[in-house]
C-alpha cells in the first residue's frame, strides 16, 4: 500500500471534541485498538477519554488489506502515527500563522496548545475540529516523543467484556431478524441426492424456511432454538452420495518432496523455476520433523449477518479482510461493488482465517433467497471444527554438515507443506469465489482452486525457514504439496510454527551431540547484540527460577519472527508423569519488540502466543477417517486447559529509539520447541512429530527400548 497521496482524514477525524481514530486493521482480540489509540495519544497528547476508535467498514475505513502476520502494529500503527504527526504539525503551523508567531514557539502537552499571542490555553481538539483534515500525510515525521517507560493503557472494552455487555456479532439483534443455520454434508466430497419434501413442508408450516441451492442447505426462522432443531431434522432427512469418502492416509505420507512443487528460497523468497542446489553428499546430523493439520477452533463458532434490500446487500462480518470478502461476494452474486457493503463486528479470537468469511457468505446466500429480512446465520461447534479451513500440515527436513572444529558449516532445510493461502481474495480465474466454502456445494459448484505458492518474502511455508543464526552455507527449499485432502488456509504464525519447532529442536540435538550447553551453543552462532541480550536475559531468569523448582527437565528456544520482527527467547520447565503426561511447571519469555507502545498488550500477546504454542505442542491434531472429520468437538480435539497453565514470566526489553515490531505471532514457534526440548531433557526421548501427547511419548519410549534391544 502506498501512503504517498493519502490524507490525514482517512485515519482520523474530530467530532464533537473527540478524536476518532479510523483503523484499517480490525481488532481480533489482539488489542490493536488499544495500541492504535495509544499511538495517536502519544503524538497528540490528548487525554485517553477523548479518543474513540471507529468501526471498520468498507467505504469509510482505509483499505489496509488483511489483519494478519503481526503486521497491524507495524503497518497500521505507522499510518496512524504519520497521520497524527501530520495533524500536529499543521495545527501548530496554523496556530502560529494566526498569531503571527513561529511554530517553534508552540508546544502541545496534555492536549493543550500553548504559545505566544494567546492569553488562554487552546484545546487542541477544539482548535483542530475546524480544520480541513484532507491534509496529505507527511513522509518524514519526527521520531516518536521521548518517554521514561512504556505506557500501560487500559484495555479498550475490558469492562464491558467482564460485564457480559460487550457485543459480539453473535449477539446482534435486529428488528425482523431471522436466525439461520446451515446444514452440512457428512464430509467435503459428499453431494446431496435428496431431501424428504414432507419434512420441509412441515417445517414451513411452523414458520421455518428451508433454502436450497444444490448441496448447500440452510434453514431460517424467527426463534433460535426451533431453527437449531430444524437444522438437525433436515440433516436426518437428507440422502447423500458419499462417493469414496475422505482418503485415509497418514499425514506423514502426504508430505513428500516427490509430491511437491519445489522452489529454492533465497533472501527469504521462493524463486520459481530456479535450479535447486544438490544436497551435500555428507550430513553429520539429519532429522525430519512433522506438524499435523491443526485448527483455529475459535471459541465462538463463526457467524454472519446479511440483509438484501433490492440490489444491495449489507453484511456484518468478523472477517479479517472485509475488502477482499466484499469483492468476492460481489463477484459470486454478479453485483456491483458499490452494492455490497461489509461492516466489521467482533467475533471471538480467530488466530487466522477461520470460518468468518464462509459464514458471512452462507448468511448472504440465505439473505439473497429471503429478501428484506436480516439473517443472522451461526455455525455450530461441529461446523466450526469440521468446516473451517485448517492450518496445513508441514514437515521440515534438516541436515547439517559440521566442520573439523565442530561448527555447523552447512545447513539444508526443506519445508514441505500445504498452502496457507485460502483467503477469499479476488484473483484470476475466480479465485475469490472458489475459496468460499458454500460455492463448492451450490447448484453450479466451483471446485477447490489449485494451491498457489506464496512467493512473498517470509510468506507462507518458508516463513522462518532461514535460521536466524550465522551459518556460512544454507540451502533452503520450499515444497508446496498441492493436493491435500482438506481445505487449508492461514493460521497464526503460518510456516514459522513448524520451521521454528524444527530448527530449534535441531539446534538442541546438535548441542547435545556435541556436548554443548544449549544456550551457549546458540549464542556462538549469533552476532546481533539484541538477540544476544534476549538470550542472556533468558539464561539469568532460568537460573533464578531453577533454584526454586524441582522439575524433570528444561528447554529453551530462540527465534526472530520473520527474521526481522520481534526477537523472542522462551524457556520452559516441565515434569513428566509415570503415564507420560507432560506438566508445564514454569515458562519464561524474553521479548525485544523495539519501542513498546502498550506494555500489557505486548505481554498478553506473548503469553497468549505461548499458550497456543503449548496447546499445539501437547494436544492439537486434526483426525479424520473415510466418513469425515473425527475432530468435531472439544473432546475429540483436545486443547490446553487451565490445569496445564504454568506461571509465565514475561520480560519485555524496551527499545524506545527503535521502531515498534508486531509481536502477536512471535512466541508460538519458540514455545513449541522449548517444550519439545524440555521433554527431551526430562526423558531422553527426542520426539519429532507433534503433538506430544502422553500416548505419543509412551510410544516413543517403546520404540527406543526396542531400538536399544
Amino acid at each position: 500500500m502506498s501512503m504517498g497521496r493519502r490524507h490525514v482524514s482517512e485515519w482520523m477525524g474530530i467530532e464533537n471534541g473527540m478524536l476518532v481514530v479510523r483503523p484499517g486493521k480490525v481488532d481480533i482480540g489482539q488489542r490493536i485498538s488499544t495500541a492504535l489509540a495509544e499511538i495517536a495519544r502519544e503524538e497528540l497528547t490528548v487525554l485517553r477519554d477523548r479518543i474513540r476508535v471507529a468501526k471498520v467498514k468498507t467505504g469509510s475505513s482505509p483499505d489496509e488489506g488483511t489483519t494478519s502476520g503481526s503486521n497491524s502494529l507495524e503497518q497500521g500503527g505507522l499510518a496512524i502515527r504519520r497521520a497524527a504527526a501530520t495533524l500536529r504539525r499543521h495545527a501548530i503551523g496554523l496556530a502560529a500563522e494566526q498569531t503571527g508567531s513561529r511554530p517553534n514557539d508552540w508546544t502541545l502537552t496534555g492536549g493543550i496548545l500553548h504559545g505566544p499571542g494567546r492569553n488562554r490555553p487552546v484545546d487542541f481538539l477544539e482548535f483542530a475540529e475546524d480544520m480541513d483534515l484532507r491534509i496529505p500525510l507527511d513522509q518524514d515525521i519526527p521520531p516518536p516523543p521521548a518517554r521514561a517507560r512504556p505506557a500501560s493503557p487500559p484495555m479498550l472494552g475490558i469492562e464491558s467484556m467482564a460485564a457480559g455487555s460487550y457485543r459480539f456479532l453473535q449477539d446482534f439483534e435486529l428488528p425482523g431478524m431471522l436466525h439461520a443455520r446451515a446444514v452440512r454434508p457428512p464430509h467435503a466430497r459428499a453431494r446431496l441426492l435428496d431431501i424428504r419434501q414432507a419434512v420441509i413442508d412441515e417445517l414451513a408450516d411452523g414458520g421455518i424456511i428451508t433454502v436450497r441451492d444444490g448441496s448447500f442447505i440452510a434453514v431460517a426462522g424467527p426463534r433460535e432454538w426451533p431453527v437449531v432443531k430444524a437444522a438437525r431434522r433436515v440433516l436426518t432427512s437428507c440422502t447423500w452420495d458419499l462417493e469414496k469418502g475422505l482418503p485415509e492416509i497418514d499425514v506423514d505420507e502426504l508430505l513428500a518432496q516427490s509430491k511437491a512443487e519445489r522452489m529454492p528460497v533465497l533472501d527469504g523468497r521462493p524463486i520459481p523455476d530456479a535450479p535447486i542446489a544438490p544436497m551435500q553428499p555428507r550430513a553429520d546430523c539429519a532429522a525430519r520433523y512433522l506438524r499435523p493439520f491443526t485448527m483455529h477452533a475459535s471459541l465462538g463458532p463463526s457467524a454472519g449477518l446479511a440483509i438484501r434490500d433490492g440490489k444491495r446487500i449489507s453484511i456484518i462480518s468478523h472477517s479479517q479482510g472485509i475488502y477482499a470478502l466484499r469483492a468476492s461476494i460481489a463477484e459470486c452474486l454478479g453485483l456491483e461493488l458499490e452494492n455490497v457493503e461489509i461492516t466489521f463486528a467482533p467475533g471471538s479470537g480467530c488466530y487466522g482465517h477461520n470460518g468468518a468469511d464462509d459464514a458471512a457468505f452462507d448468511a448472504t446466500l440465505v439473505a439473497n433467497a429471503i429478501p428484506g429480512k436480516p439473517i443472522l446465520l451461526k455455525w455450530t461447534r461441529e461446523n466450526e471444527h469440521c468446516w473451517e479451513p485448517f492450518g496445513p500440515p508441514q514437515a521440515v527436513e534438516l541436515a547439517a554438515r559440521l566442520g573439523e572444529d565442530g561448527r555447523i558449516e552447512g545447513l539444508s532445510a526443506e519445508a514441505i507443506g500445504g498452502t496457507y493461502r485460502g483467503r477469499p481474495s479476488p484473483g484470476p480465474g475466480g479465485a475469490g469465489p472458489a475459496r468460499l466454502l458454500a460455492n463448492r456445494f451450490r447448484g453450479s459448484p466451483i471446485p477447490a482452486p489449485p494451491a498457489v505458492p506464496n512467493l512473498n518474502k517470509q510468506g507462507g511455508i518458508h516463513r522462518n525457514l532461514d535460521p536466524c543464526y550465522e551459518i556460512s552455507e544454507t540451502r533452503l527449499v520450499n515444497n508446496l504439496v498441492p493436493d491435500l485432502p482438506h481445505r487449508t488456509s492461514a493460521l497464526r504464525c503460518l510456516g514459522a510454527a513448524a520451521n521454528i519447532f524444527a530448527i530449534e529442536s535441531f539446534m538442541d540435538e546438535l548441542a547435545f551431540k556435541l556436548g554443548k550447553d544449549p544456550l551457549s551453543f546458540r549464542r556462538s552462532y549469533l552476532e546481533d547484540p539484541r538477540a544476544l541480550a534476549v538470550l542472556d536475559r533468558l539464561g539469568e531468569a532460568m537460573e533464578k527460577a531453577a533454584r526454586k523448582l524441582n522439575s524433570d527437565g528444561r528447554g529453551i528456544a530462540y527465534a526472530q519472527y520473520k527474521n526481522e520482527m520481534a526477537r523472542v527467547a522462551v524457556g520452559v520447565f516441565v515434569s513428566v508423569a509415570d503415564d507420560a503426561a507432560v506438566t508445564l511447571d514454569r515458562a519464561i519469555i524474553v521479548v525485544d519488540a523495539g519501542r513498546i507502545v502498550d506494555l500489557p498488550g505486548l505481554e498478553a500477546q506473548m503469553e497468549g502466543g505461548f499458550l497456543q504454542g503449548a496447546s499445539w505442542a501437547l494436544h492439537e491434531e486434526v483426525v479424520w477417517n473415510r466418513e469425515g472429520i473425527v475432530s468435531s468437538d472439544w473432546d475429540s480435539y483436545p486443547v490446553l486447559r487451565f490445569d496445564n497453565v504454568p506461571e509465565i514470566e514475561t520480560i519485555a526489553i524496551d527499545r524506545p529509539d527503535r521502531s515498534s515490531n508486531g509481536a502477536g505471532e512471535a512466541s508460538g514457534g519458540p514455545a513449541i520447541a522449548a517444550i519439545v526440548n524440555a521433554v527431551f531433557d526430562a526423558t531422553g526421548l527426542r520426539i519429532r512429530r507433534l503433538p506430544l501427547t502422553a500416548e505419543a511419548i509412551r510410544n516413543s519410549a517403546l520404540d527406543q527400548e526396542a531400538a536399544d534391544g
Binding site: 460487550y166 457485543r167 432454538w225 467482533p346 498478553a604 472439544w634 473432546d635
Partner: protein, 154 residues
C-alpha cells in the same frame, strides 16, 4: 410452556418450547446476551451462569430444570458484592483477549470466591478447568481471581 424463572433477582415468565435449553431462553427470549454459545455440549463454559451460587452450564439443560433456582447471568453479576469485585478485578488485570470466554470465567470466579474466599492458585485452576479460553488469557484470569480475593474485606 409457561414457566417462571428467577433471574438476576426478578421473576421472569417465559414461554419458549419445553425442551429449550436455558441458554436460548436467556439469549433469544429474554435478550440477555451475556452468557455465550460456545459448543452446546457442556464442554467449554462460555454459557455459564450462577444457579444457586454454583457455576452451571446452560447450553444443554432445559430451562424448566432451573425453575426454583436463583439464577444470576453475567449481566446480574454486578448486583452481587462478590460479582462486582470479580468484574472490577478482571478489568484491572486486563483478564481477556477477545473476551468471548470472559463472562463465563467471571461467573466461575464468582462461584469460587463465594464458596472459598481465598482460594489457592491450584483451586482456582480446578474451578476453571471446564472453561476454555483459546486466546490464552488464563494467566491474567488467575491473577484477577487473586486480586478479587485480596479485596475481600469480610
Amino acid at each position: 410452556m409457561e414457566l417462571t424463572l428467577r433471574i438476576n433477582g426478578r421473576d421472569r415468565s417465559v414461554r419458549s418450547e419445553e425442551d429449550t435449553p436455558l441458554l436460548y431462553v436467556l439469549r433469544d427470549e429474554l435478550k440477555l446476551k451475556g452468557a455465550k454459545f460456545g459448543c452446546g455440549l457442556e464442554q467449554c463454559g462460555a454459557c455459564a451462569v450462577l444457579a444457586d451460587g454454583e457455576a452451571t452450564f446452560t447450553c444443554v439443560s432445559p430451562a424448566a430444570a432451573f425453575a426454583g433456582s436463583e439464577i444470576v447471568t453475567p449481566e446480574g453479576l454486578a448486583e452481587t458484592e462478590c460479582g462486582a469485585r470479580v468484574q472490577a478485578a478482571f478489568a484491572e488485570a486486563s483478564a481477556a483477549q477477545c473476551g468471548y470466554c470472559t463472562p463465563g470465567l467471571a461467573i466461575a470466579a464468582t462461584a469460587l470466591l463465594m464458596r472459598n474466599p481465598s482460594p489457592s492458585r491450584e483451586e482456582a485452576k480446578a474451578e476453571m478447568q471446564m472453561h476454555l479460553c483459546r486466546c490464552g488469557s488464563h494467566p491474567r484470569v488467575l491473577r484477577a481471581v487473586e486480586l478479587a480475593a485480596s479485596r475481600n474485606r469480610k
